[in-house]
């Protein structure tokens, strides 16, 4: 990632997020001219946060989870390419509010300093919780639901899952309509 755009991405994160050594090392990776991947939609801080939420939803077990499968890249690309402007603005602002809320509630200054159990605590509070949804004027439940939908969608589109779990074969060669499971 270009150093200038990396800094630009961070300053877009509404000022309450400060750098930690983790993010600094990510920027420093720019100096190696790494062209591995750079986000188009989320800020750097948001990417770090989202990556961890996705791993909570689809964790590493005896098979790869969200981090190993780099699901955050799909989600970033999907929202960038497919969501309408108003939808994108909603996602970014609601996600930022959610992150800010966690930081303020836990008196933490940096996204990368939040422990995973803390993120999970807030995610599980807002996902599928009818009471929260009823009183939730902050749309946190919606954004958590979107995280989960994107996690599942992206998981089931990875090469690993399609070929190892869902029986996808690029060139089947024939059709059998009566296969014993």
């Amino acid at each position: 990632m270009d150093r200038r755009s990396a800094i630009k991405n961070i300053t877009l994160s509404f000022g309450t997020i400060t750098l930690s050594t983790g993010i600094l090392s990510m920027i420093q990776s720019c100096q190696t001219n790494s062209t591995d991947w750079s986000s188009k939609f989320f800020s750097l801080a948001q990417i770090i946060f989202l990556d961890r939420i996705l791993e909570i939803i689809i964790p590493e077990t005896d098979s790869p989870g969200a981090k190993s499968l780099k699901l955050v890249r799909f989600v970033d690309a999907y929202l960038y390419k497919n969501f309408r402007t108003a939808e994108q603005e909603f996602v970014l602002s609601t996600m930022q509010d959610f992150m800010n809320m966690i930081l303020e509630s836990e008196n933490i200054s940096s996204v990368s300093d939040i422990d995973d159990p803390i993120i999970e605590k807030y995610f599980s509070l807002h996902i599928d919780n009818e009471n929260i949804i009823a009183q939730d004027g902050n749309n946190y439940s919606q954004i958590c639901g979107l995280f989960r939908e994107m996690a599942v969608r992206s998981y089931k589109l990875t090469e690993y899952v399609l070929t190892n779990k869902l029986g996808y074969v690029p060139i089947p060669g024939y059709y059998d309509g009566n296969v014993d499971i």
Partner: protein
């Protein structure tokens, strides 16, 4: 470049490819003009081998596609990332549908919609050819099934069509290759529908233009590999496209000159000799205008484009467009209305699944208004269903049964096989209403200075009544086949969304009420043939492309005979 030929073919889609093949194989030096860019079979199918995980962000209709293809996007599927390059940029190719929305869905390239079509092929029967006469509607077809039947045989045997013979006169059997197998649930549905309905309705295998055994002529056309990526162009040539089949045949004769990037906008009429003598073309690259001449001209550029060329071909003899003595040119536009049907879940075959991705499921042929107890009071004509049954995988909703919101157990659940589901959607006939029409707006021109098309078409009471029955019958068939959670669906149909627009230069006996005669010749200009969807006198409910192919092959052979006899 030479500009005199024996024949000119305008368009390279389903009809144009056939005209090119037949005319060149009969020895005619033929100029084939295509307004779009070249697409070479296999070389230019850039997305043919892309796997689902290779699409960054998924295979979707992106915001960029919506901006550049706002009208193509209305279909909800044609311009996903894997196929958007085969559909027009609406901003560069505008049309007008302010009065009533019209979805004119197409691409401009060699092969046209023969690359992206749905590949379903169902013959018309005399039930269709006699319908206008019996109902006292529009005008009678000037042909009957016996006239076209040998040509259906001819084209089907050449291109390869898979399907199952059923012995129904209103659903004529073809020259079939072995059918795509029905899966366990589809076979169950076939048995149940046959048993539970006394009106003779059946569930059959869908009939599609796929090679399922052996090979077919063309550029190495072999059997389907069950990838279900047809719309991207098939590197196996396993389904029919002009690019893999008819155009290579034409090229092999040495008699074809293929010119992409050539917009035909007018037929040049020779007032003295009272026949067409050529076409006027704009080169899309250098924007220059050229004239090409031939003894016979085939308009195969698709319904709207062919009709547009005729309308633009004004002269002292034809002030309202070439061949438009009847005033019917541009009128009677039809399509197939659809987006109505039902789906359901099936609690059985729990230990069964499928392997491979067949590109077609089942078809339920028309069972309404075919005589006796099937005749309705609330609508005339009929509809057929396309559908399929499959077994997907669980979703987030399925995890809620276990109160699992996320984590290891969700990860396990979402890759478990789900219950079997099936769905079916009907395609229904639209009657030829004179005031459903297209016309040209000379005040709104495109970037080549040509008038743009204005559409004005709606479905009426007959179609609306039919849609009610389409939904109810879909629900009933699923329920009687043992499905649960049966849910009917109906989305608002926008005219043209069936992508079967047709009828605007219809065939008929009488030049006062039709544009073309029984051989697809313009009544008053017999060396001009129109064999694409524009020629259709009624729409039937059957996917029409095989009919266009058969009519084109028939007309091309007629043209060659007429040339030999010096009748044209």
């Amino acid at each position: 470049m030479e500009n005199n030929f024996d024949a000119i073919v305008v368009g390279t889609g389903v009809s144009g490819g056939w005209a090119a093949k037949e005319l060149t194989e009969k020895g005619l030096k033929t100029l084939v003009l295509e307004r779009g860019r070249m697409i070479k079979h296999i070389d230019d199918y850039h997305t043919a081998n892309i796997n689902p995980w290779d699409f960054e962000g998924g295979n979707t209709i992106t915001q960029d596609a919506r901006k550049k293809q706002p009208k193509q996007s209305r279909t909800g599927y044609v311009n996903r990332e894997d196929s958007r390059h085969f559909f027009v940029n609406d901003l560069e190719h505008p049309y007008n549908d302010d009065a009533n929305k019209f979805n004119w869905i197409r691409g401009y390239h060699v092969g046209g919609r023969s690359i992206t079509w749905g590949r379903h092929t169902y013959r018309l029967s005399d039930l269709d050819f006699e319908a206008n006469l019996k109902d006292g509607i529009a005008t009678d077809w000037p042909i009957r099934y016996k006239d076209i039947s040998p040509w259906y045989d001819y084209v089907e045997q050449y291109i390869g069509v898979q399907g199952r013979s059923e012995g129904l006169s209103h659903f004529p059997d073809g020259k079939f290759l072995k059918p795509f197998e029905l899966n366990v649930l589809e076979k169950h549905m076939r048995e149940r529908i046959s048993k539970n309905f006394s009106d003779g309705r059946i569930l059959s295998n869908a009939r599609t233009a796929h090679v399922t055994e052996g090979t077919k002529p063309g550029l190495g056309r072999v059997a389907c590999q069950y990838r279900n990526r047809c719309m991207r162009g098939c590197p196996y040539g396993a389904y029919f496209s002009s690019n893999s089949s008819t155009l290579p045949a034409a090229e092999a004769t040495g008699n074809m000159t293929l010119m992409p990037n050539s917009i035909v906008h007018e037929i040049i009429y020779d007032d003295d000799n009272k026949k067409a003598k050529g076409v006027r073309v704009i080169d899309t690259i250098n924007k220059q205008s050229y004239d090409y001449f031939a003894k016979v001209i085939f308009l195969c550029s698709s319904t709207v484009a062919s009709t547009s060329i005729l309308i633009q071909s004004k002269s002292n003899r034809f002030p309202n467009g070439l061949g438009n003595d009847s005033g019917e040119l541009g009128h009677n536009i039809m399509d197939h209305h659809f987006q109505v049907g039902a789906s359901g879940k099936f609690n059985g075959f729990k230990n069964k699944t499928t392997y491979g991705r067949k590109p077609a499921g089942y078809y339920i042929p028309r069972f309404r208004n075919i005589g006796g107890v099937t005749n309705r009071k609330d609508f005339i004509r009929g509809y057929g269903y396309q559908g399929g049954a499959n077994r997907g995988f669980m979703s987030i909703g399925d995890s809620k049964e276990e109160m699992v919101s996320y984590g290891p157990r969700l990860k396990e659940i979402i890759v478990q096989p789900n219950e079997w589901t099936a769905s079916m959607g009907a395609f229904g006939e639209i009657l030829p209403y004179h005031d459903n029409n297209m016309e040209l707006d000379y005040n709104k021109k495109d970037k080549w200075g040509l008038p743009t098309v204005t559409f004005n078409a709606t479905i009426r009471e007959n179609e609306i009544s039919m849609r009610k029955d389409m939904k109810e019958q879909a629900e009933e068939m699923l329920e009687k086949s043992g499905f649960t959670n049966v849910s009917g669906h109906e989305s608002k149909y926008t005219f043209g969304n069936g992508i079967h627009e047709m009828g605007t230069a219809r065939m008929g006996h009488d030049p006062k009420t039709s544009v073309l005669n029984k051989f697809n010749q313009v009544h008053s200009v017999k060396n001009v043939y129109v064999t694409d969807g524009a020629c259709m006198t009624s729409s039937g409910c059957q996917n029409p492309s095989i009919t266009y192919m058969a009519l084109t092959a028939r007309a091309a052979n007629h043209a060659v005979d007429e040339l030999k006899k010096q009748n044209i």
